[in-house]
Symmetry: C2
Subunit: 303 residues, 2 copies
């Protein structure tokens, strides 16, 4: 049953998570060679957890352009591999120093730091291998396009740049951080990859530029809403539901959307952005209903 | 003046290093944004040093198939970015814990650990972005092919797997390591990327399979010779010439080609492999003279 036959977001998200996880499982290395420890760490940190919201965005975007299941699932897997790599590296002692991830020990706690660094490195490599492989799309220009766009989203001008900003922000006086600075930080750190997730289906379907722009605009607003809710959950969330420690931002004296806007205005801003995100989907009519529901989910989620 | 007009290896290597370095300089991010520290770390660790032997292999291989300068230089740069990323991560305290690299402080000593991890991550991403970009080749199938082959060489079944094996080998009794185990370790850790460097020109030139196989065989033997010489330099080399600390393997009680074969047999083995590597170049006639000289250089180098 394809994603497009789902009417309810929860069921569609669960389907996207399960089918992407099955694809990831097949794509990940396994074996009993001497170096298998790094295979195990890659599997440990990328399988069996997470909402798979990025995978959902790829699959939901792909249904708009009648893209086949295999290209969509392989692309979704590649993005989830990059997401998993970024979490492994972000959790390292030299970075955010998190012992818990998705309710279980983070990769360097379960294995060791060296293995965690290598597992993250190899997950990133795997993502590009999967996208460029002939199985992902019959047209090599589409495959190369996916590689370039993922690289832009993940690299120094995207996710890595955002994480650098985030680390440097911790050393800064929180009072000096403006809403503009935090918005740019989050656009790079999480927004760029979410944006690629939302537009990948359009690349796979060789959609016309206005279609891709509409999805990009949706992703832009939704990504920011997503991050504001992340900040809200760090203040209001239940650690057992969120699956990681909360209250970390305040304890670190870190500037967040909540510390600058306050709880109420942050909540209002997230809702406004989610409505604005959904409005960009107009050109797709009711075919984009799942993406509309996703916008609602992002601001009402508890974890 | 193209590489093919050089007759002497030393001059050709210097030309390859300079022209690749210029291309890398243009491809690396720069700017004064808040996250510029990661740009600086990427530039610090990838520019201004190294023999650029991998870049030479790409350029020398490309001349065999009349590949243009831009595709060859961009591909060479991508491989040097991956090589630089691997050195940054290998030098980290959790890995080989090296304070010195190419005669200057390693990335995490010059900046900090978090910045070094991120700089390595973003250098890897940049490599794939460069290969998949339309400027690298007019045929998207060639670009996708380069991405897949680089990913295979660098990932869990290549370079990262080899580094995992190397880290685990340090915990093992050196007596239990066989020549077969060390050979496999080095084929993954350094051989895979050297092999891709030697065959990339054939991919760019859409060469027939037997041509690519000949270069692959050359790379296979040469990569192993290269590593044996690395082990020899760790025993016999002058740190001020080698540009990093020597005697580390013996101090760590690490099994190497030298610890198993002894100095004399290791030297003989490296020479034999270099001759064997050169023999694979026969189909190319005297057009492959620079690659033949490279085989000789690899076993006679002092750093």
């Amino acid at each position: 049953m394809p994603l497009s036959s789902y009417r309810e977001f929860d069921a569609a998200l669960a389907f996207a998570a399960q089918s992407t996880e099955r694809t990831m499982e097949r794509l990940l290395p396994k074996g009993d060679e001497g170096e298998a420890q790094v295979f195990e760490a890659m599997r440990y940190s990328s399988l069996g957890g997470g909402k798979r919201l990025r995978a959902f965005f790829v699959l939901a975007g792909a249904t708009l352009f009648k893209v086949g299941a295999v290209p969509a699932l392989r692309t979704a897997s590649a993005i989830e591999f990059v997401h998993a790599y970024s979490l492994i590296h972000d959790d390292l002692p030299a970075m955010d120093d998190d012992d818990l991830r998705r309710g279980k020990p983070s990769c360097h706690k379960q294995f060791d730091e060296a293995t965690a660094i290598l597992a993250g490195d190899a997950l990133q490599t795997l993502a590009f291998e999967v996208l460029a492989d002939t199985d992902t799309h019959g047209d090599p220009a589409v495959r190369a396009h996916l590689v370039v766009d993922l690289a832009k989203a993940a690299g120094a001008h995207g996710m890595v740049g955002g994480q650098m900003l985030d680390l440097l922000a911790e050393e800064q006086d929180a009072e000096e951080m403006s809403i503009g600075t935090i918005t740019r930080l989050q656009r790079l750190k999480t927004g760029a990859l979410i944006s690629f997730s939302c537009t990948a289906g359009a690349i796979l379907g060789k959609a016309a530029e206005p279609m891709r722009s509409a999805l990009s605009a949706y992703a832009h607003d939704l990504g920011l809403a997503f991050q504001i809710v992340d900040d809200l959950l760090d203040v209001e969330g239940d650690p057992s539901v969120v699956g990681k420690a909360t209250g970390k931002d305040a304890a670190a004296g870190k500037a967040t959307f909540v510390s600058i806007l306050g709880l109420e205005r942050a909540r209002a801003q997230a809702s406004m952005l989610a409505r604005q995100a959904a409005a960009h989907l107009e050109p797709f009519g009711d075919k984009a209903d799942l993406l509309r529901q996703a916008a609602n989910f992002v601001v009402s989620r508890r974890a």
